[in-house]
């Protein structure tokens, strides 16, 4: 076995162990550097894994310990897993560099170390969610994510962030509980936790036609639990406050990555356990489609009413998550491809918007639209990042959001009755996106009163922040103009991912 196959285990353990080592540090600023180096290393490793597996065109399972899989644990990786962990590492790294200043000013110095520790544990968790091949392992890491994410929201000690963290905790517990209930039912029915064994057992049940109700209920409970955790529309009440009141790094990572982690597990459930047949016969696909459609419209309408920049972005996250649900709900391989592509695009775009908005908020010391008037003139790079991100989510061609919408539309054209509602939803939500992003862009670039002109001289931001924002801008443009490469990689990965191929 070559070294490449050890990368998943290496990266998970490296991240978690580096997190655990953090209490041994004394200076919080060194911790940030240390964390960034680890992220860089893991990102490079994931890139290596992705390229290697893609050129070999294979996926593999990695046995953890001396006992093979149904008895022991195992990890599983293919080109798609490599790509996702590469993108996640990249976003982690850029989010830390891009909001370094606000991180240092928002979090008290004696808390900075522990904050980075929890962030690192969350990162390790996300990697484990990507690579896991076992339902219970997934649950354990969902729990780690729940604990760490709530504290990351409340780490900036303001009254509001603590209230929203408590609300977040409630929703998280509800989601975990439903997910665990679903796992328990499935385990009693099949006696397995490994994805491949579960799939065989579920297939046998389907062939014999018995125990249909428990199967459907367990699938529903798990879907419900995960959609609560990933802030899908009717369960999104916790999201805006949690993301708006947290510090910029937390908002960028929670919104850009954590929500996707749960969706990856949902995708694995759909592809690796239930397979297309259960999904369609139990109307689960239709449920996902419906949730997605409703979320796209309602979350966007809610975003229209926000007076705070971060709350608006948070609602927009909920709307973008709905795109992923919609594409999963199409129930085809193209839909899956579109969902993965949207995940990657949204992770990169949303973190860029949050970082841009964070830079502007830091620049003008206010986060209501009234205070942000002309903020982009003061922090030009932040303004550009926000503008490009916003336009990209509206679906302007040559930007990443357009190519994601294009993939979803292609998938929708391939479906039967879902075509019309999906296309309608896509169009309507793009218009709605434009309705709140374009006024926002106009506000931040707008002129203030003439006598205040000299107040808005551009202020300088750190070199690292500049680099992070520029790199995210580059990624956005690249994904918008030349998305063929990434799309092929995802297609190859999905083929190796499960039974859809």
């Amino acid at each position: 076995m070559g070294l490449v196959y050890n990368i998943p285990l290496f990266s998970i353990l490296l991240v978690v162990v580096s997190g655990v080592c953090i209490p041994l540090f004394r200076n919080g600023k060194h911790v940030i550097r240390f964390v960034q180096i680890v992220q860089l290393l893991v990102g490079a490793g994931s890139l290596f894994l992705m390229v290697g597996l893609s050129s070999l065109n294979e996926s593999f399972t990695y046995q953890l310990g001396h006992v093979p899989a149904p008895w022991g644990n195992e990890l599983r990786a293919g080109p798609l897993e490599g790509l996702l962990s590469f993108v996640f590492s990249l976003v982690m790294l850029l989010a830390f560099s891009g909001s370094r200043e606000s991180l240092i000013s928002d979090i008290k110095p004696h808390r900075l170390g522990n904050y980075c520790l929890l962030m690192q544990l969350l990162y390790g968790t996300l990697l484990a969610m990507i690579y896991t091949d076992d339902l219970f392992t997934a649950y354990v890491f969902v729990e780690v994510a729940a604990v760490t994410a709530c504290v990351l929201v409340s780490a900036k000690e303001s009254g509001r962030s603590i209230v929203s963290a408590i609300r977040y905790l409630m929703f998280n517990c509800l989601g975990s509980g439903l997910f665990l209930l679903g796992i328990a039912i499935l385990y009693v029915l099949t006696g397995h936790l490994l994805f491949s064994s579960l799939q065989q057992a579920v297939e046998q049940y389907l062939l014999s036609g018995s125990s249909k109700l428990p199967l459907i209920v367990s699938a529903l409970l798990m879907t419900l639990g995960l959609s609560i955790k990933s802030a899908q529309f009717p369960f999104h009440a916790w999201l805006p406050d949690a993301h708006a009141s947290a510090t910029t790094t937390s908002s960028a990572i929670l919104s850009g990555l954590l929500l996707k982690g749960y969706l990856i597990i949902l995708m694995k459930l759909m592809v690796c356990i239930f397979g297309p047949f259960v999904m369609v016969s139990s109307y689960l696909c239709d449920l996902l489609l419906l949730l997605g459609l409703a979320g796209m419209l309602f979350a966007s309408v809610a975003a229209l009413r926000q007076e705070e920049v971060k709350r608006m972005i948070a609602y927009s996250s909920s709307a973008q998550i709905s795109y992923i649900f919609l594409s999963l709900g199409l129930g085809s391989q193209l839909g899956l491809l579109a969902a993965c592509f949207q995940m990657i695009v949204h992770a990169l775009t949303k973190s860029m918007i949050f970082l841009g908005a964070g830079a502007m908020i830091n620049g003008v010391h206010g986060h209501y639209w009234g205070q942000l008037r002309g903020a982009a003139r003061k922090v030009p790079l932040g303004g550009i990042a926000f503008t490009v991100g916003g336009l990209s989510l509206c679906g302007i061609p040559l930007l990443a959001g357009f190519s994601a919408k294009y993939c979803i539309a292609l998938a929708a054209l391939d479906a039967d009755w879902q075509m019309a509602p999906a296309l309608f939803g896509l169009a309507a939500s793009s218009v709605l996106n434009a309705m709140y992003y374009i006024p926002a862009i106009l506000v931040i670039w707008g002129r203030t009163k003439p006598n205040q002109e000299e107040e808005w001289k551009p202020i300088s931001i750190g070199l690292e922040q500049k680099f992070a924002l520029s790199f995210l801008l580059f990624c956005n443009l690249y994904l918008g103009m030349r998305f063929g490469l990434v799309r092929d990689l995802i297609e190859q990965g999905i083929y190796r991912f499960g039974s859809f191929g």
Partner: protein, 339 residues
Amino acid sequence: MKTTQNDNGWFRRILQWASESESEGADAPEDPEKQEFQEYLEYIDAHDYIEFGAYRYMRYQQRKELGLDEPTSHYTAEPPTPQKKQKGKKSHHKQGVLRKQLRWYQVASVLITCVIFWILCLVVMELPEFGALDAPAWNEVVQRYLQQGREETGAVNAITGMILEYRAFDTFGESVVLFAAAISTILLLRTPNQPLRQRKAGDEILKELSKYLLPIILLFGFYVILYGHISPGGGFSGGAILGAALILASLILGAGEVGRVLTSKRVTYITVFSLLTYAVMKFYSFYTGANHVGWEIPKGEAGHLFSGGFLLPLNLCVGLIVACTMYTFYTLFIPTEEE
């Protein structure tokens, strides 16, 4: 919300105020936030319940109508509400609307609970019977754990063999959950310059008794951990006993006494090193197992104390993590003594 340095303790101050540990009077007039919060509590006593934010917005509107719109509190800027939004705003704020909606929530929640209960009952009826011999959960996975567990892991206690050898990665995740919980509590509740929370020691009789009792409990805790692979027990249960012993010790001898030996820093270091040791040992066996390198740890003779390869040190690590987490929770949530 941009907070400055001196405003960050807002939540803590409210907590202190709620536990009435802060002296009244001296601090009260110069603390507009506290005053505002008190006014709010009086308001919800007299009127309907509304959220604090809604209350502050209402007060803001009232002040604005009176013409004094300088903010009373310094810790947040009031929202400069855009002009267009203000016209429609008043019609939304009818008295008692929220209360009516809340009643609907109660009815709906009862209904939803009933429906879910009914569905889950139906599901349980269809599930295979618990403990039946032909139940699907009794399959080759469980059979191998029970039949070959002893020779493959060297543990007499099948559960320890399962959680620390077969499914060690999951257990690693569980330890990380505990560690994350402990660190979260530390992050939220500990401030560096705050003196260690003191609690008066118990009386003489308790102290005398504890001299005999505590060593036995500690010894029992270590016994349960160390013999985890031979008899029922293991890291999680033994760690809970150890943690309970530490808490008991700090209750009886006073937190200061125990805190001198087990400073918060030392407790964190113990947890960190246990978790690191666990990770290193498991990494070794994951790596050698996955790459088929060999180099297995000798299993020894099952039933002896030093057997089962890494099981003994792994149990010890898990036990220390559990005990330290419990003790950390206790020290952080201990109520402050009022003199």
